[in-house]
């Protein structure tokens, strides 16, 4: 009897020990050095680095400053995810928009086309046009398109994935209308047998 009680107590304490050995939840810096790194998926830090690479190229070359109007007006066209990794493209696009729009280096037209981002604003513009009888059209300077692709390879247990982010700006006004005026690709290759915590 005494032995049974002792064994119960020991089992209970062992369970408690195992339960407390796990990693407690905590907040970490998004895309920071404590982030999880996988080999087969696009991670937070990959998106942040891709956005940084794209913005750096755009700002270094001064492409947006060549637009006839300032700030340059951007249309966000299709950016497709052709990888097997399921991640929101908006994380990339909005990181870039935040930097460009909030610093006054570009403006995004959210009322353009049949799939306008802001239906309300588009409706307001249409109502103004109807009431005044004047057709006002926001002149757009560039359209942003892109594609994200993936190349996978393996050697034994070791898996390798290369994710390529490609973005392109096409002029929609001025003498170079319809031509590609900027393009950039950023690649990230990850290799390993399993995901890890931290860079």
């Amino acid at each position: 009897m005494h032995f049974r009680t002792l064994s119960y107590a020991l089992s209970l304490s062992l369970c408690c020990c195992i339960a407390s050995c796990g990693s407690p939840a905590k907040r970490i810096e998004t895309g920071g050095p404590q982030s999880i790194t996988t080999t087969s998926d696009v991670d937070d830090q990959d998106i942040s680095e891709a956005a940084n690479a794209m913005l750096s190229s755009l700002l270094e070359l001064g492409v947006l400053r060549q637009a006839p109007q300032q700030p340059a007006v951007l249309l966000i066209d299709r950016i497709t995810n052709d990888t097997t990794s399921d991640f929101p493209i908006d994380n990339l696009v909005y990181a870039m928009r935040e930097q460009l729009v909030n610093s006054g280096q570009a403006a995004v037209n959210t009322t353009y086309g049949s799939n306008a981002e802001s239906k309300l604003a588009q409706g307001e513009a249409k109502r103004d046009q109807f009431e005044t009888g004047e057709r006002t059209r926001i002149p757009n300077d560039f359209a942003l398109t892109g594609r994200i692709t993936e190349l996978r390879r393996a050697a034994g247990n070791v898996r390798q994935s290369t994710f390529t982010f490609r973005l392109t700006l096409t002029a929609t006004s001025g003498p170079r209308k319809g031509l590609e005026v900027w393009t950039k690709q950023a690649q990230f290759t990850k290799q390993g047998t399993k995901a890890s915590v931290g860079f």
Binding site: E29, E49, L55, S56, E60, G62, V63, E98, F199
Partner: protein, 142 residues
């Protein structure tokens, strides 16, 4: 006697060969045509070097140039004189003329690696033309 001499030489030769192979594996031989500091070099070399010395790397040059887009671009040349490839992360935060941090999605952590005997140029672009200085953080990867 001769046999004994031979058995003494063998491990030494083997060790020397093994060391040569180990050192040669993953080592990069680097040369540069630049022998002097660039005209765009900035006098932060020592401080930047201190940050890299903690992870056994050496900053050979720090430059700041104004790009055609009107924003500053920082370039930090880092050399690895050690015997193994170093993986590290770095973050460049930009400051305006008042020393205030300019918040930006471009202030993210980035990863880099530099092979033994090799060098790498880290570049960072200021998010706005108002940025005048930068702050560098370096961390060795696990």
């Amino acid at each position: 006697m001769q046999i004994l001499h031979k058995t003494k030489l063998h491990p030494l030769a083997a060790a020397l060969a093994a060391t040569s192979i180990l050192v040669a594996c993953g080592t990069v031989n680097t040369v540069s045509t630049r022998t002097e500091r660039a005209s765009t070099s900035v006098p932060y070399h020592t401080q930047v070097n201190d940050a890299f010395a903690n992870i056994f790397l050496k900053a050979t040059d720090v430059r700041l140039v104004r790009t055609q887009g009107g924003v500053l671009k920082a370039q930090i040349d880092v050399a690895n004189d050690g015997f193994r490839t170093r993986h590290f992360s770095y973050q460049v935060e930009w400051l305006d003329a008042n020393g205030t941090l300019v918040e930006s999605v471009m202030n993210n952590w980035r990863q880099a690696q530099v092979y033994s005997g090799g060098s790498v140029s880290l570049t960072a672009l200021a998010p706005t033309p108002e940025c005048t200085d930068f702050r560098l953080k370096v961390r060795e990867n696990q």
